[in-house]
């Protein structure tokens, strides 16, 4: 690993840590505007995190060490995941450590820990949240993998950096396989990031919540890490989506001039994506939990269809 690569990797990490809460703040702002409410400031997420870190953590009396370790592990998985997705440049020395399949694996590892931690206290809500999270996971994960497989087959590689390079250099045509994969990806990322129509990040209504039920027992620094990890997950998913479907603007290896342009390009793309997310959340109603499997199965089938279309039409 040369010095420049090291710097690039460090910059990617710092970017993820800073931009992820900003992105959540931005989505909240947009949603407030769309719903005719006064918006919280953009930096609200940082204030909340800071406040939470200062508080004293209250842990249930019969929690095992696993309950306290889980936020750190989940945070570690999500930070690593956001570090290997190409954001500014494809020149990431750590990217070969985990390809597209391993990226999905990292998300799954975080899901396992967060679900087990939710079951640890032994409350009715915790186990309910764990069960629903695993329900969403077992359908969303294969669907996401199908999307990634389609992109991998187009670029003959499962390495994320190579996928971005190939996709950015093809001429601009809408490939039918990528279009199908894009729809599948949008559905999956709504479900995976606990967004409307699958989950509602703003609710504490017990019957509907998934993510909130998982972190119900957490407080103070543990909750802060969980929330930061959730923000990182949204960031990683958004960047993966941008890398797959809008790869233009990401600097290729050894292209320093493009690096200057990459940051504004990424921020603009993320802002647009965040607005779109807020729009989707505003205009759709939340589904009943029993409809979620159908929603995700549709995403999965679309993913398989994308793969088939690519193999049959070669496009």
């Amino acid at each position: 690993m040369n010095f420049e690569g090291f710097l690039a990797q460090l910059a990617a990490m710092a970017l993820a840590l800073v931009v992820a809460p900003l992105l959540v703040g931005w989505v909240n702002m947009c949603r407030a505007w769309l719903q005719n409410r006064r918006a919280p400031p953009l930096l609200q997420q940082f204030r909340t995190l800071h406040k939470l870190f200062w508080k004293e953590s209250v842990v249930a009396s019969d929690a095992t060490p696993m309950f306290r370790a889980a936020p750190y592990v989940v945070f570690g998985c999500m930070l690593l995941a956001s570090m290997i997705v190409p954001t500014l440049s494809t020149n990431l020395p750590l990217a070969p450590a985990a390809d597209a399949i391993a990226l999905v694996g990292l998300f799954a590892l975080a899901r396992l820990f967060i679900s087990l931690a939710a079951m640890d206290i032994g409350t009715a809500f915790g186990t309910l949240g764990a069960r629903r999270e695993m329900l969403v996971g077992f359908l969303a994960e294969p669907a996401f993998l199908m999307v990634l497989f389609t992109a991998s087959l187009i670029s003959n590689s499962t390495s994320l950096a190579n996928i971005v390079t190939t996709l950015a250099h093809r001429e601009f045509t809408i490939l039918p396989s990528l279009a199908l994969a894009g729809v599948a990806f949008t559905m999956v990322s709504l479900a995976e990031n606990a967004r409307v129509p699958v989950d509602n990040p703003a609710t504490h209504l017990e019957l509907t919540m998934i993510h909130e039920a998982l972190v119900l027992e957490y407080s103070a620094r543990h909750l802060a890490l969980m929330e930061w990890a959730a923000a990182l997950k949204l960031f990683a998913y958004s960047c993966a989506g941008l890398a797959l479907f809008f790869p233009w603007g990401v600097a290729q290896a050894n292209d320093r001039g493009a690096l200057l342009l990459a940051l504004p390009a990424l921020l603009v793309k993320l802002a647009a994506g965040g607005f779109a997310l807020a729009l989707i959340e505003t205009v759709t109603a939340k589904m009943r939990i029993f409809r979620v499997p159908e929603f995700l199965a549709t995403a999965f089938l679309l993913g398989v269809l994308a793969l088939l279309v690519h193999l049959l039409l070669g496009a």
Binding site: F53, E56, L106, M119, G122, P293
Partner: protein, 660 residues
């Protein structure tokens, strides 16, 4: 023999020593102390020796030995090549952990006396080492399954197991009969030399898939597995699931790639389809189980399914001459065999400890054991992560290789196959994701939450020898996960021997840090880096939070949205956790529900989930057999005159035939 010390002699000595230990067990029939503190640890040591002998033999030259036992004029031909050495290695590594665990496991006054148990256990080990003695394996494991032979459901399980094992054995004998092609010489060397027509080769392959599939629990011959594995004592379940199923995989590999001179592409499609259906069925049923050992048994069916899928992929690649890719699929297959042997043994041993501590197998009456049995819980957590196939565990490494294999199918010349294979890939990732669901259920319901019964709070952790066994297998899982390239280098001679190409041999597997099976541009994965990075981030975050903020903590009652009255019975039960799967995959199950009405004085809720294949296949076969025997029974009239008429008619018919 020319060279004085061959590996195969060492292997035979180990096997003979196992027999001796078994016989010594008879000598100390009811002396638990001798059996537990001398015989089983000695046997574990022998397992480790076997693993040590087999490891270099995988890369060594094939060795042959003749044993002048058995029928006169028909000596045992034994051959130790890369493939058999690998499976001996697997047996040695897994059984070393299981035997040392068993030393601390068997207690006084449970079913069969310990000495007899010891004999059966070691005959089983020895029989698995000499896969030739298929029947002995079935018989010894039958007696092990029926250790607690006074319970009727265990007798039933044992009977079913023996029945399916024998049907499988018949198919295997027929398969070898086809392979020797009327030459009357049943040595493998002769079978290898035969050049069968595609029809007979296909017949041999299908017979092998059926016969070995019966032993491995491939659909629809899986019915014995969820009955027999839970019935046996836990160390035996560990060996059956971890090792015995793999001997069947060994048989499939031997017949397909070694004994048949060439492979045909549609064999691969058959194996892919059978494997995928098996895997999906296994994992969906595992999610619906409420007995922890049955859950693991169904999860074994799932893993065997994945292994058969890898076999199918390897056959397809081999049939089209894409040898590097066939080697990739075979490597994934063998790697997964090794992984499954370790993590499934580990999990079964964990259930054994739980069983001893709580006398409870039903998930609905367990819970919260992590606080009382930390050793078992933390080792089981490693097993669970591996079984769920998550990075950086060993289960992920082999699934990653398998998925890489699927991504190369775009190069296949057959357009229909090209279309079919991605569908299989989708099925495989669905199975892998469902495995995560199953494992969260398994671990969460047993070890996490609050104890569902009061007496669980008195549960004691595993004893010293049991811990040693658990830690041995856990360490194996971790090492296999962190150093995939080293594992692939060990496995490598086998694909080289079977399809003429190896991954590491062509220098395309990466260095110790980075696994890159085809080329670094194509795909790469580094387990050590992923592990180190996550660990580094965790440590750094922990230190930074302490440095800039604080680490204060207060213990209080759980929050739970402020509801004050909560009991341990309000947690999700095993049925509850499996409910979404039961609902989504409803056509898979045959369910009986008993719902209480609102006016019930003593409401009861009961749901039983049954295997629909019982009704679809087995019950029908049984009825057809009964009907056929009834029809034949019509001939029996019990009157001499009618029997004389039969003789007369037969005579006339025969005369007529000879005339014509």
């Amino acid at each position: 023999m020319t060279t004085p010390l061959l590996t195969i002699d060492g292997v035979l000595v180990v096997i003979a020593a196992w027999f001796c230990i078994g016989v010594a067990g008879i000598g100390a029939l009811r002396n638990l102390r001798v059996v537990a503190h001398v015989l089983f640890p000695a046997s574990a040591l022998l397992s480790a020796v076997l693993a040590g002998l087999a490891l270099p033999a995988v890369a060594g030259t094939p060795e042959v030995a003749l044993l002048a036992i058995g029928l006169p004029g028909l000596p045992f031909h034994l051959r130790l090549d890369a493939l058999s050495a690998f499976f001996l290695l697997l047996l040695g590594v897994a059984s070393a952990g299981v035997s040392i665990f068993a030393a601390g496991y068997f207690r006084r006054g449970e079913g069969t006396p310990p000495g007899l148990m010891c004999l059966e256990y070691h005959v089983f080990l020895a029989a698995m080492a000499m896969v030739v003695s298929w029947e002995m394996m079935a018989l010894s494991s039958y007696f092990l399954v029926t250790t607690n032979h006074r319970l009727p459901e265990i007798q039933r399980a044992g009977y079913l197991y023996l029945l399916v094992a024998h049907i499988g054995a018949i198919a295997i004998l027929l398969c070898f009969g086809v392979l020797q092609a009327n030459t009357g010489d049943y040595t493998f060397a002769n079978m290898r030399a035969q050049n069968l027509s595609p029809f007979w080769a296909s017949a041999a392959f299908l017979l092998a898939l059926f016969g070995f599939g019966a032993k491995a629990g491939v659909l629809p011959l899986h019915v014995w597995l969820p009955e027999a594995h839970p019935a046996a004592p836990s160390p035996v379940s560990a060996l059956m699931s971890g090792v015995m199923l793999k001997t069947a995989i060994y048989g499939m590999l031997r017949v397909t790639f070694d004994l048949c001179s060439s492979t045909i592409w549609w064999w691969g499609v058959v194996a892919l389809a059978v494997g995928l259906v098996t895997a999906l069925f296994g994992v969906v049923f595992a999610a619906a189980q409420v007995d922890m050992k049955r859950l693991l048994a169904y999860s074994s069916i799932e893993n065997i399914g994945l292994i058969v899928v890898a076999l199918g992929l390897a056959i397809i690649f081999e049939a089209y001459g894409m040898r590097s890719l066939a080697a990739l699929a075979l490597t994934a297959l063998l790697y997964h065999c090794l992984n499954h042997a370790l993590f499934k043994s580990l999990l079964f041993l964990g259930t054994g400890s739980v069983l001893h501590a709580t006398h409870e197998r039903s998930l609905g009456k367990l819970g919260g054991l992590m606080r009382f049995m930390p050793w078992v819980a933390w080792t089981a957590l490693v097993g669970v992560i591996a079984a769920a196939g998550l990075p950086p565990s060993n289960g992920f490494a082999s699934e990653w290789l398998l998925l890489q294999g699927f991504l190369f199918t775009g190069g296949l010349p057959n357009p229909y196959l090209k279309m079919l294979v991605p569908v299989f890939a989708a099925g495989v990732v669905l199975v892998a994701a469902l495995a995560g669901y199953v494992m969260v259920k398994f671990f969460g319901v047993i070890f996490l939450g609050r104890p569902r019964e009061e007496r669980l709070e008195k549960a004691e952790d595993a004893g010293r020898l049991e811990r040693l066994g658990l830690v041995w297998l856990t360490a194996g899982c971790i090492l296999l996960g962190l150093f995939p390239v080293a594992v692939i280098e060990v496995i490598d001679p086998i694909p080289f021997a079977l399809v003429g190409r190896g991954l590491a041999q062509s220098g395309k597997v990466g260095d110790w840090l980075m696994l890159a099976p085809v080329s670094a541009e194509r795909a790469s994965y580094s387990a050590p880096l992923v592990f180190l990075l996550i660990a580094a981030i965790v440590m750094l975050t922990f230190l930074l939070v302490r440095r800039f903020y604080h680490g204060r903590i207060r213990r209080a009652a759980p929050w739970d949205c402020g509801y004050p009255f909560q009991t341990a019975r309000m947690q999700d039960t095993a049925e509850g956790f499996g409910q979404p799967i039961r609902q989504i995959f409803e056509p898979f199950f045959r369910m009986h529900r008993e719902l209480p009405s609102p006016a019930d004085e003593a409401p009861r809720y009961r749901v039983t989930v049954e295997d629909p294949l019982w009704g679809w296949i087995y019950v029908r076969i049984a009825r057809a057999t009964e009907a056929a025997s009834r029809t034949v029974g019509m001939l029996q009239r019990g009157r001499i005159s009618i029997y004389l008429l039969y003789s007369f008619v037969t005579l006339v018919a025969l005369l007529f035939l000879t005339q014509a």
